[in-house]
Symmetry: C2
Subunit: 254 residues, 2 copies
């Protein structure tokens, strides 16, 4: 049983971090593989000693990047939030940075209180690769028709059962209905960016959506086929899972 | 003595490459250190066998990047220029790419025929580091006054003896007069980019110019001091040499 004075001292903090996913096997701690959670916990321990209830806003796959990733954690150490940010940054490796730290209500939970997320997927669309985007974008040599794909992707928008766009594993429980709020495909020179926002995402959902759009671009899947693929509720009807390197968790909504 | 038929078969080619300098100890071949020239020569040898007179447009330091770097080389292999580009890319590592290959006059030399170069220097100007710019930009925490520095940098423009902005070593021969055609300092959000164009550059010249501007920003050197530093012809009067990671060879003019 925890004593009242201990409970009284615990503060709940929301930390926002960014990381270059190339160096890590995703967020969630694993044996025999370096993860963001491991280096983050080590830095936190170095600064505040003990902590409890550390929760990340989502799992991210090996190689996936985060422009915004949120973590909640309870600690008794009295360090002010803004100082904790700077102290963590002096312990974190170059590939991970804490960009914000604020105190939140005791009940706040980085995962359960999340109201939605936005992912971006970057594609370097050129005959020749870009040496500065190794691991930061998918290199795709065929000419991408961003207008065609932007139009086709609108079939994702709305509340649907996305089981066709999910890699089934033991981690997927409950229903497969998600509300996709927006999907866009835009070009800036040779860089094509796909952006998708939803109340939540299934395992590999964005990467399978992107893979399906790439197969539409290559003529393997018809541009108007997405609604039918959703209805089929069959993973085999959708396209391949696009590589992790182009994927960025871009925003987390609370 | 080379026979006439051999000479007749030699073609002179101009190849344009890009590289991520993080992986290399600069362009020029060295013992016991990986350089861009070494991996480029290895790829070229794999594709065409023998070649001669390979010349790079400039030395670049360890860690310096190239958006555009030019190489001239003579070879007797009959491969069409556009095919050589693609073949090289299949042998080059991810960090180096050939973006163009054309046939040029026999007399063309990538270094001696160069009429000028443009460098850019990227600075991430924020309290917190950017995990996606490790080795791609200098992280500078103090607020940069880009307008002040842009104005101060105009004193670099013109034909001057730049010995104050040169690391003296055995490689520097002849005179130290160079014609700086333009210098600009611009901000896009937290990214500040300095751009400088000249008919030629001395060893470490851009990095010392940038280091001097950073010391002007910090109040260690007066904003109007640059003309005087040039006149002094004394390396000690200028600022420190800025780190290599922010520097990109951006354009080469012929």
């Amino acid at each position: 049983m925890q004593c009242v004075s201990d409970l009284g001292n615990l503060r709940n903090l929301l930390l926002t971090i960014q990381y270059d996913g190339r160096s890590f096997h995703g967020w969630q701690i694993q044996q025999n593989a370096l993860t963001v959670q491991e280096v983050f916990q080590n830095a936190l321990k170095s600064v505040v000693g003990e902590f409890s209830g550390l929760k990340g806003c989502s799992r991210t796959d090996s190689g996936v990047h985060a422009i915004m990733y949120c973590v909640s954690v309870k600690l008794s150490h009295p360090i002010p939030a803004h100082r904790l940010k700077n102290a963590l940054n002096s312990y974190l490796p170059d590939e991970v940075v804490c960009i914000d730290c604020v105190e939140v209500d005791d009940s706040f939970h980085a995962r359960y209180d999340c109201k939605g997320k936005q992912y971006v997927y970057k594609i370097w669309n050129s005959q020749t690769r870009n040496p500065f985007l190794n691991g930061y974008a998918l290199h795709y040599r065929y000419q991408l028709d961003e207008k065609l794909l932007d139009k086709a992707s609108q079939a994702f928008v709305g509340k649907h059962d996305f089981i066709s766009f999910c890699t089934l594993d033991k981690r997927e429980k409950g229903d497969f209905v998600r509300n996709v709020r927006m999907f866009s495909v835009k070009r800036e020179g040779e860089l094509v960016t796909m952006t998708v926002e939803a109340d939540g995402f299934l395992y590999n959902m964005v990467r399978i959506m992107v893979g399906t759009l790439l197969e539409i671009n290559q003529g393997k899947i018809a541009p108007d086929a997405i609604a039918g693929i959703i209805e089929e509720k069959n993973r085999a009807a959708a396209g391949a899972t696009a590589p992790a390197c182009g994927l960025y968790l871009n925003k987390v909504f609370y």
